[in-house]
């Protein structure tokens, strides 16, 4: 194959057979990352390239491995919460939520209703922030700089609100096992509503600037197509799976917290604007989910119980010591299904085994198949559409 270039027979139609001479020469190994602008962190791809075409790309992980699972075996259940923040650092609250859902399943505690509402509001805010980063960095990957800064401008408002409520901008430690660290500050709901009203037109503007851009559509449409059955077999989840046309959202299909009471749609691409399963579909799903999250926030603020006799830490156990058993609890993160497999021996206050099923890790595992035969710019478009956070991939 290498060297002189090979001869190849290809059949153009029934009676026309073409003899093609390949100009392919020696393949070049191209190491992309771990320091590369578009690998979104410290991912390394070892690509075999034939000119601009990638024949094989092997991902190498572990540059950000921080022994999350080993740490978990040595600290108490509540002390694991800050570690979960550091996994998917763009959506810390959602990670806390997933972990607490898992532990509370094992503990079987009753959570005050207001706590649930606050949890949903902050996690949906964080979901919007995370999707804004995903969309913005995706725009940068494709060479459009301005949408990125528009996204970050609006994300800044969300981070400011979350900082006001939780005291931290990215690593919150806000959702505790059985409750919350604090109640939200007075006037928080009004400010959130103000943001929702401010943000709606801005989201539309972003849509017009990026999603309706001819070059953007040309770069993403039909690139990196993942069929639905393969996506399921790969264990894809979240916007990635929905981008392939599978209407699967854990908030709907394995409900937790107060999501069953809320009215929201699970957007999937209809195949009109994009080819179902391509990079553009995944982008569209994220863009549409932002709108759904805004709806959820509005409903939560509308239905939220008052503060009378409310203690955010009322149901927080003094010492978390679940009965012996195992649980696999999970929640819908901005990047897909974040699950925690927790094994408790019923005696210790720290888990026997705590395994994080990271959505990015699973989504990224399809990279090798997705990248085969793509151009280098398409590879960048595909990595961007996977929306990986290396903190969660490596844990």
């Amino acid at each position: 194959m290498a060297g002189q270039g090979s001869l190849r027979l290809s059949r153009k139609s029934d009676d026309v057979v073409v003899l093609e001479k390949d100009l392919s020469t020696e393949q070049m190994v191209l190491s992309m990352g771990p320091q590369h602008p578009s690998t979104h962190g410290v991912l390394r791809l070892e690509c075999l390239t034939d000119g601009e075409i990638i024949t094989e790309a092997e991902p190498y992980l572990g540059y950000l491995h921080r022994c999350f699972e080993k740490h978990c075996e040595h600290v108490d259940y509540p002390a694991i919460v800050p570690y979960t923040d550091r996994m998917d650092y763009l959506a810390g609250i959602n990670s806390e939520m997933a972990y607490c859902v898992a532990v509370e399943k094992l503990l079987d505690v009753e959570i005050p209703r207001r706590v649930e509402f606050i949890r949903v509001i902050v996690s949906e805010l964080n979901r919007i922030a995370s999707h804004l980063v995903a969309i913005g960095t995706y725009a940068i990957d494709l060479g459009a700089f301005t949408p990125f800064l528009f996204c970050f401008r609006d994300r800044e408002h969300i981070l400011n609100m979350l900082e006001w409520a939780t005291g931290a901008r990215m690593l919150y430690n806000y959702i505790w096992v059985g409750g919350l660290a604090y109640d939200v500050p007075a006037g928080f709901n009004e400010r959130v509503l103000e943001f929702v009203n401010y943000f709606r037109p801005k989201a539309l503007e972003l849509q017009q600037l990026l999603t309706e851009n001819e070059i953007f559509v040309k770069r993403t449409k039909g690139v990196g197509i993942m069929p639905a059955d393969v996506a399921i077999n790969y264990g894809w989840s979240g916007p990635m799976l929905r981008g392939s046309g599978v209407q699967w959202d854990l908030r709907r299909n394995d409900p937790y917290s107060i999501y069953p009471e809320l009215d929201f749609a699970v957007p999937v691409p209809d195949g009109k604007l994009s080819v179902v399963g391509d990079c553009l579909s995944r982008h569209l799903v994220r863009a549409l989910e932002i709108e759904e999250s805004l709806k959820i926030i509005e409903q939560c603020i509308d239905k939220m119980p008052g503060t009378e006799g409310f203690n955010p830490r009322a149901a927080v156990p003094k010492r978390v010591r679940p009965k012996a058993g195992e649980v696999y609890g999970r929640a819908e993160n901005p990047r897909g299904e974040l699950g925690f497999y927790i094994q408790s021996d019923g005696k210790s206050t720290s888990p026997l085994r705590c395994k994080a099923r990271s959505s990015c890790f699973v989504n990224l595992s399809a990279m090798k198949d997705l990248s085969r035969g793509q151009l280098i710019p398409d590879l960048v478009a595909i990595i961007g559409s996977l929306d990986i956070v290396l903190g969660e991939v490596d844990r």
Partner: protein, 172 residues
């Protein structure tokens, strides 16, 4: 409350799924553990694990097409290593079930299911990386998170960290 009701339904459904598998494989799998948080069964005859997995994926009444999670676990008291696999049927049925597969701590191995669910590919590599049991028939059995020349299996309960790695002091 209502939450509890949903849960018990879920256990019932997994029980029904278990019955189908038990019918086919009989003594190769253990009795069904119908706890409320994570109903599971254990594969007794480890060599049959790939066949069971294929059966679970393809049987028209089971269709466990989605592997949510594969966690490697160290059972120090039993002297075994194992995996816990959380499976569910995405879009076809609403049942989900967990499967445990175990192998001896020293020199044991588990058949790979990377050919059944692609998800298992990297998860099995991770389990191998952390606990050190190889998966037979895995297409690419290498460490994934730790460096290739790392010593020991970090998630084993009796793991002692190595003194130095390429001249860098490890415990700090």
């Amino acid at each position: 409350m209502e939450e509890g009701k949903i849960l018990s339904n879920a256990v019932e459904e997994s029980g029904a799924a278990y019955a189908v598998i038990h019918e086919k494989f009989g003594e190769a799998i253990s009795a069904f553990d119908d706890n409320a948080t994570m109903p599971f069964f254990e594969v007794q005859d480890t060599a049959l694990w790939t066949d069971i997995a294929l059966f679970m994926r393809d049987h028209p009444k089971l269709k466990f097409n989605y592997m949510a999670c594969l966690s490697g676990v160290d059972y120090l008291e039993e002297g075994k290593l194992g995996i816990v696999v959380n499976l569910e049927s995405l879009g076809v049925f609403s049942h989900r079930i967990a499967v445990k597969v175990k192998c001896p701590r020293d020199g044991g191995s588990i058949p790979s299911v990377a050919g059944v669910w692609h998800t298992a590919n990297w998860h099995e590599r991770e389990a191998y990386d952390m606990l050190g049991m190889p998966f037979d028939g895995h297409p690419d059995m290498r460490r994934i998170l730790c460096p290739d020349d790392w010593e020991g299996w970090p998630l084993r309960k009796d793991y002692r960290v190595q003194e130095s790695y390429h001249g860098i002091k490890v415990p700090y």
